[in-house]
Each structure stands twice: as C-alpha cells, then as structure tokens.
C-alpha cells in the first residue's frame, strides 16, 4: 500500500465553477451579493425593500433559491427587475452550478448588481462559494443572540451582518449588544447594520453599504 498526496479541496468542482463565475462578474463589472440566513429572517422582504428603492433604469437582477415553490420569485418580480427562481428540489443550499445554469439565459454584461437569495439555512450554504464578491448574513431579533456562536462557519465568512426586524425589539428579549459582541467574537472585522424592513429604519445605511461595495467592486479580487 502506498500513500500519495492529494492536495485539492473537496468541493474543487464547485470552487472551479465559482471562480469562473467570479471572473465573469469581474469582467462585466457586476457586483454579486449572496444573502444567507435562517428561514424567516427576512431575506425576501429585505430584497423587496432594496429593489423598491432602486431607479427602474438600474441594471439589477435577483436569483432566489428555495427547496420548493416560486413564491419568492413572484414577490420579487413585482418590482420590475429580472428575477429567476432556483428550485433546488430538496437540496438545502445553492451551489455554483445552479447559479451558472440560472444565469445562462441572461446577458451577464447587462447586470450591474446581482443579488442571490440563498436557501433559508445557516449551515450548508456557508460551504458553497457562488462566485459572489460579498456575503451578507441576516439575523433577526426574534432569533437568539447566540446564532453567530452556534453557526460560526457562516458568520466567519460574512462581510456584513444585517440585524433585521429591529422594530420588534420592544417585544422580545433580544440583546443587541450581545448579538454584536457574538458576531465580532467570530469575526472581529465584521460589519453590522441594524434594519427594520417594516418601518424602513436602517435601510439607508444598508443601501449605502451596497453602493459602497458596488463602487469598489472588483477591488479585492
């Protein structure tokens, strides 16, 4: 028996496809943002509010992933931007191949901002690079402040944490300072914004973050 080295990532094929996607985004000047959270943290609502705030001429597109139904795509299509549902049929995360396939019928050079709403899940999406430039994790105040500690793999890879549903703070025992501390324990450089998609609080800060990342797109590649 001989031992031979095998130095490659387990998800080599996904990473190879993701690298191709990333190069495409770079070439076309697209900022791709991957949104990850538990089910029900408000990814779709945040996207609805985000889309509603864009100039209709803005070249924005959305891919939204779910195990079943195209409910989210229907909700998001109301804002006039191209939206495509990825139905995974059981898979608990999106992978680079699904994104590549979903993008195939669009002209990639015609998209400046691409949002990918991942399947609601704080575990599995973290392992799959989709070629995105920015990864955003949502955490709503009706969840526990310890989510960053329970799911460090996901929070470790996040560029931004959106603390959502802050309008509900008077009714829940959620401690914002603790949530922030926990997120920073997992990743000291993490950026955090507090928003309410119901009242609109904090959405300006969120939009500024998107625009700043858009203006600086490709810089880190």
């Amino acid at each position: 028996m001989t031992r031979v080295p095998l130095e490659r990532k387990v998800l080599n094929e996904n990473d190879r496809l993701a690298a191709e996607l990333r190069q495409g985004f770079l070439r076309h000047g697209t900022l791709c943002v991957n949104l990850i959270s538990s089910p029900g943290s408000g990814k779709t609502m945040l996207l609805e509010r985000t889309l509603a705030g864009f100039d209709p001429q803005r070249r924005v597109a959305v891919l939204t992933g779910d195990i079943q139904t195209d409910n989210d795509a229907q909700r998001l299509a109301r804002y006039g931007f191209p939206v495509r549902q990825i139905t995974t049929g059981g898979a608990c995360h999106l992978d680079a191949r699904m994104v590549e396939k979903a993008l195939a019928e669009w002209r990639p050079e015609a998209i400046d901002l691409l949002f990918i709403e991942n399947v609601g899940n704080l575990v599995c999406p973290s392992s799959y690079d989709l070629g995105e430039e920015a990864r955003v994790v949502l955490l709503s105040v009706t969840e526990g402040e310890d989510k960053p500690l329970k799911y460090p793999a996901t929070f470790y890879r996040a560029d931004l944490v959106v603390l959502n549903k802050v309008d509900l703070l008077p009714y829940v025992p959620f401690r914002m300072d603790l949530a922030r501390e926990n997120a920073r324990r997992v990743q000291p450089d993490i950026e955090i914004v507090e928003v309410s998609c119901t009242t609109g609080a904090g959405l300006d800060t969120w939009r500024q973050w998107i625009e700043a990342r858009y203006a600086a797109r490709g810089a880190g590649c």
Partner: protein, 114 residues
C-alpha cells in the same frame, strides 16, 4: 444536511483519481476544519452509505479534524481559539486572523502497490 452532497463530490473526485492512475484506492484522507460547516460524523455516515453502491467499495475514509487557530497580527502569536475568544492571549490584541479550521480538503489517498 449537506454532507451527502459533499460525500458525493468526494467519491467523484476519488473515482477520477483512481481512473487517472489506473489503480485501486483503499483509503482516502480528508481534513475537516472546525469552521468548515461540515460535521465529521455525518460526513462519515453519508460517505459509507454512498460508497457501497460504487466500484470504489470497500474504501475507507480517514478524517483529520482541525481545530480553530488564529494568529495575532501584532505579535504573531499562533493560538487555539477556545470558547470564541479570538483576542490574542499574549498581547490582548483583537486583530487576529484565522490560520487553521477553515479546511475541507483532501490530504492523501492510500493506493495499491503497482
């Protein structure tokens, strides 16, 4: 529960290597980091379930678990992160970065002598 698709990717990669080398693979070693988002026991369960329906069986899976380690950007101390304490235990700086724990990588294969 994405360990099933990860196990499937692993078997695909081992099959490719086995064909390329024209040899039988007896075992495959992987490194699984604490922050990889992959549960070692679940991965083993899925791997064993999938491998038995392939030509690769019997194929052993050897998992090396790698704990979370950070290095201080100030004093360069390398330390194990326990209980999410990412600040440097030597100088107290909060500017530390990951050096290990992120892995989901193959390490080696045990192949038959040719």
């Amino acid at each position: 529960m994405h360990e099933m698709s990860i196990a499937a990717s692993m078997l695909e990669a081992v099959q490719t290597e086995a064909t390329r080398r024209g040899t039988h693979v007896l075992a495959v070693g992987v490194k699984v980091g604490e922050l990889s988002g992959v549960d070692s026991e679940s991965l083993r369960f899925c791997f064993d379930a999938l491998v038995q329906d392939t030509d690769l069986a019997p194929l052993a899976l050897e998992i090396q678990f790698l704990g979370w380690r950070n290095r201080c950007r100030q004093c360069e101390q390398d330390f194990a992160v326990e209980n999410y304490r990412t600040e440097c235990p030597r100088c107290g700086s909060v500017e530390t970065e990951l050096t290990s724990g992120n892995e989901l990588e193959f390490a080696y294969m045990e192949i038959e002598e040719t």
